[in-house]
Every structure is written in structure tokens, then in C-alpha cells.
Amino acid sequence: MIFFSAFIFSGLVCAIAQMILDNTNLTPGHVTSLFTVLGAILSFLGLYEKLIDFAGAGATVLISNFGHMLYQGGLIGLNESGLIGCFTHLLTKASAAIVSAVVFSAILSFIFKPKD
């Protein structure tokens, strides 16, 4: 039944985001940053792993997963080599998201022309 819980969870988070966008003056930029920070905080509290067990991809398609990956990458470094590990390992897990976004956007922006 993980498909059902994935639908409910990611749907609910997007509905909450839409309510914030409709009822306040915050822009999509504010909301995505807010959800990234929330993801890192939930990961700090150890709740995000449980959310992924419960909702599967419903929790990993969201931008808050980016904060979760940052925190988990740093945590591996912290356990391995302390403070210096935080600096060297923070981006390890989130690397896939940043690198793919940079590579795909750069290549596609060379190929395509902006449309108005």
C-alpha cells in the first residue's frame, strides 16, 4: 500500500505549500527554502527516515529530501572524523541533485532557445 501513502504524503505537503502561497506574501522561493530547512530539521530529529519508510518515494520526490540528504551526508562525516568530516562530507549525498541540475540545465540551455 506504499503507493497510496506516497500519494497522500506528497499530496498533503504540496497542498500545505499551496495554502502558504495563497494566504501569505511568500514567493515560491521562500517556500522551497523553508521546506529544505524543514527537511534538514526533520532529519536531525530522526523523523525523515521514518517518513521515507512510511511514504517511500512520496517523501523523496520533495525538495525537503535535499535538506535530508545534506544532513545525512554530513552525519557520515561527523561519525567518521568529527568536525573536519562535516566540512568534507556535507555535500556527498546531495551531490547527485546539484551535479545533475547543473549539467542538465547547462547543456539544455545551450541547445534550446528561451520561449516567451
Binding site: F44, T60, A101, F112, P114
Partner: protein, 147 residues
């Protein structure tokens, strides 16, 4: 015309959006993105022999590719006006913000245009993500030292 009258006039002229409908649309579209993601995980794990951790990384990469591709084709903004936050909050929104600034500023040159404005919109996500993750790690380190 004083300030209050002006505010009333502006309020009466601003087009009213149906908030309930917007929320329902965001719920549906966000849910569909989640289900499609879960479907991809299911296919990768059962038919391609990929482990669950790797499947999540492939999902993240493919979502970003879809976001960049739709933005480059010019479809993404239309989809967002139709389906609202259901496409902004998933990782596709992050890809869209990088891809759209890359496309928009390409005309100003490779360094001063594309390079300087590449992270214009996505920069806040990366900045506050890294900052909050680092500070939380520091808090954890202090707690571990004390306990």
C-alpha cells in the same frame, strides 16, 4: 482618495483565485508526482536489479532531468499555472529555477550572463540547505560531547 479607500479599490480589482480549488489541485498533482516516483522505484528495484538507495538517487536525477527538459521546451510555466505547488515543491521546482535562469540570461554572454545568474533563484535553496544542515550538525556534535 485616502489610503483606506485606495486599499479597498485595489482589493476589489485584484482577481480572486479560488483557494480551495488551488489546494485540491496541488494535492492531486503533488500526489501524482509521488505515485509516479514510487512506480519508478518499483520498476528499478524489481526489473533492473537496482538497490533501494540507488533507486532513490536515480529517481532524484530523473526528476531533475524532467524539470530541466520541460523548462527548456517552455512547457513548465504553463503546467505550474495549471497544477500550482504540486510541481514547485517536488525536486522539479529546483531544476526549473536553475534551468529557467540559465535560459533567460544566456543572451548576456557565457560568463556575465549564464555564469553569473546560474544560481540566481536556486541559490537560496542551496545556501539555506547547507547552512541549516551544518548548524544542526554542530548542535548534534555539542549534544554528543555533553552526553
Amino acid at each position: 482618495m485616502n489610503k483606506d479607500e485606495y486599499k479597498k479599490l485595489v482589493k476589489s480589482l485584484t482577481p480572486k483565485e479560488n483557494k480551495v480549488k488551488n489546494t485540491l489541485l496541488a494535492f492531486l498533482s503533488g500526489g501524482i508526482v509521488g505515485v509516479l516516483g514510487e512506480l519508478e522505484i518499483y520498476i528499478l528495484m524489481n526489473f533492473c536489479g537496482v538497490s533501494r538507495t540507488e533507486a532513490f538517487i536515480w529517481l532524484c536525477i530523473s526528476l531533475i532531468f524532467i524539470g530541466c527538459f520541460l523548462t527548456s521546451l517552455g512547457f513548465f510555466d504553463n503546467l505550474v499555472t495549471k497544477f500550482k505547488a504540486g510541481l514547485i515543491i517536488p525536486t522539479t521546482g529546483f531544476a526549473h529555477s536553475i534551468s529557467s535562469s540559465a535560459l533567460d540570461y544566456k543572451k548576456d554572454g557565457l560568463i556575465t550572463g549564464l555564469g553569473a545568474n546560474f544560481f540566481k533563484l536556486a541559490g537560496s535553496v542551496i545556501l539555506y540547505g547547507i547552512l541549516s544542515a551544518f548548524l544542526l550538525l554542530m548542535i548534534r556534535m555539542v549534544i554528543e560531547c555533553l552526553v
